[in-house]
Amino acid sequence: MNDVTSIALIPLLPLAGFLLLGLLGRSVSGRVAGVLATLLMAGASALALVVAWHYFFRDQAAGNAYLPQVIWQASWLPFSGGLGINVGILADPISVMMLVVVTFVSLMVHVFSLGYMHGEERLPAYYAFLGLFTFSMLGLVLSPNLLQTYIFWELVGLSSYLLIGFYFQRPAAVAAAKKAFIVTRFADLGFLVGILILAFCGNSLDIGTLLDRLTNTQAPQYAAATTASFAGITALTWGLTLVFVGGAGKSAMFPLHIWLPDAMEGPTPVSALIHAATMVVAGVYLVARLFPLYSINNASLLVVTAVGSFSALLAALIACTQTDIKRILAYSTMSQIGYMLFSLGVARYGGEQAAGFTASLFHLFTHAFFKSLLFLCAGAIIHRVHSNEVKDMGGLRRRMPVTHLCFLVACLAISGIPPFAGFFSKEQILHAAYADHKLVYATGLITSGLTAFYMFRLYFLIFWNQPSRQEDGHREGTLSMLVPLGILAACSLLAGLIPFGRFVSADGRPASGSSDWTFALAPVLLAAAAILVAERMYRRPSPWPQRLAERLGGLYRAARRKFYMDELYLFITKRIIFPWIGRPAAWIDRNVVDGLMNGIAAATQRISYWIRAMQSGRVQQYALFFFGGVLALAWVLIYVWQN
């Protein structure tokens, strides 16, 4: 089996699962569907590992650089000129790394679902949707063409909609699915327009060609793209910023983040897959994919940095006040993605300055493991206590020792405690930020402390604190739930030791990670202090959290209500768009436009009423008209029309 076939098979296997289960529908049992989907996913996962091995270790290109190569492509929808959607497969360090991450996490989620979803209805549909999602995500990361990216981008959105709304009889789930789709669709509008701008600037939809043309200062396209276009801003800036809007939507960045917490209405394994490790990092992936372009455009990079760091801080603040375990994790995800984005924002192309790029993707890599682990642990806990609220948990460490251990590992990893995975990636990010701008660094540092605080707040509230009054029924979940937890915990422990910079960097050349260990002191100490505070406040029931909340007053209330973003959006849609735009449009249509048509009809009718009065039924009147007409005609013919 050559590489093209094996890479092509990776997305095709989940697709086969989707088609098979989708067509078979209810004629297969849930268990059979689960096993089938899991086996296909295992195949894809194994293939991804083989492909990664070949790519990174066997087929290393000339020199030491990993060059992107389009290993297969075909014309899907040709447009005029040099444009067209060519679907294809792009192999480069980022896409290969994403292949491994996506298939691996997806496999873990499939296995976990075997136990977690056991006994649910519509399981074939569930696994079919998981397959569709995995396929779309893989198609997205392998795409060499901007519009192919957009195609799979939309498909990812659809499968996310289907999975969030899996419990479709719950109105909350339906509303959340709808919200997720519409908010990301709104962002996709930006993405689409951005694609149009970039494609016509570089006269190509092919990402490689586009990058070449627009970064080459000698090329005519470069000159055209960097002259001011609309509103005095260059076309390139417009294009890149709008594309980033699309990315920010999928990655739940401020102010488009409002769908992510609600999306937790979906089944928990789905959250682990979509809202932790894969789909939500699509924005990071997108910026990384177009990074050579972003790196020559300071304005759009500034936007990325600002949005990333602000979202990181905001989400961390909100996470400290929430009480729903999945929502805390959702905000934590948003915060961590903000990390990845500002890390990209502070990077530049090539050499030392590209450290942020590597760090960002490294964090994406490690985050995938520990965040999906956190979600799966949350799933195991919810499975046991049948509630999402942390107040219904408490004291679970004895009853669920394995989950407890795994959760602790993940918490340590996300808090950046050495030698767990998160430490390495986070430390690199902070390093890169420090080199670029102190304000970004400060934001990152504060966020890092807050992260440790809210994660351990969660940890202590669930596993220590006051035991809830749950009777001691079944203990841990099934084996199929515990195995993925164990594997992911091991990954969270070890993934940081991978010399990531050797494989993934902005220009394909190995980058050396920073080795300045003294630099790591500040974040680690801060995290440790935050953990200590969390321990004092939440390990046992104490009045401190309450007092602190009162002391903080408005800030606490605002954070608890998520800074009123939902209310703002609701206000805009329900109070402005629907009544002030939609309703007038419908009204105008019914009354003005249609009124015009009906008015014409009414006028015609009025005139015909008037005319028909002449048809009086009086024979003699008719005769009079007749004679009058004859006389008039005679007069005209004799005296007027004489030629």
Binding site: R612, A613, Q615, S616, G617, R618, Q620, A623, L624, F627
Partner: protein
Amino acid sequence: MIPLSHILAVSTALFFIGVYGLLTRRNLITLLMSVELILNSVNINFVAFNKYLFPERLDGLFFTLFIIAIAAAEAAVAIAIVINLYRSHGSIDVEDSRDLKY
């Protein structure tokens, strides 16, 4: 020989008497009679023109005969209509049969 203008004067008089009757009388039978007057005025014209202008041809006479035949047929149909109207409306006043309108 009587000049043509005299004959035309008679036929014109006849014509306008007919028109006057057609426009002012109420009785349908009278209306019918007025129509006959008009037709006859036309007949006179045909005959007179034929005689004075083209004495060697007979077209005018033929037309007159044709009109007389048509007038007979018309009278038959019209009287049938009038009888039916009388049966349905109980009147042969033209003002009473105004149903054929919008």
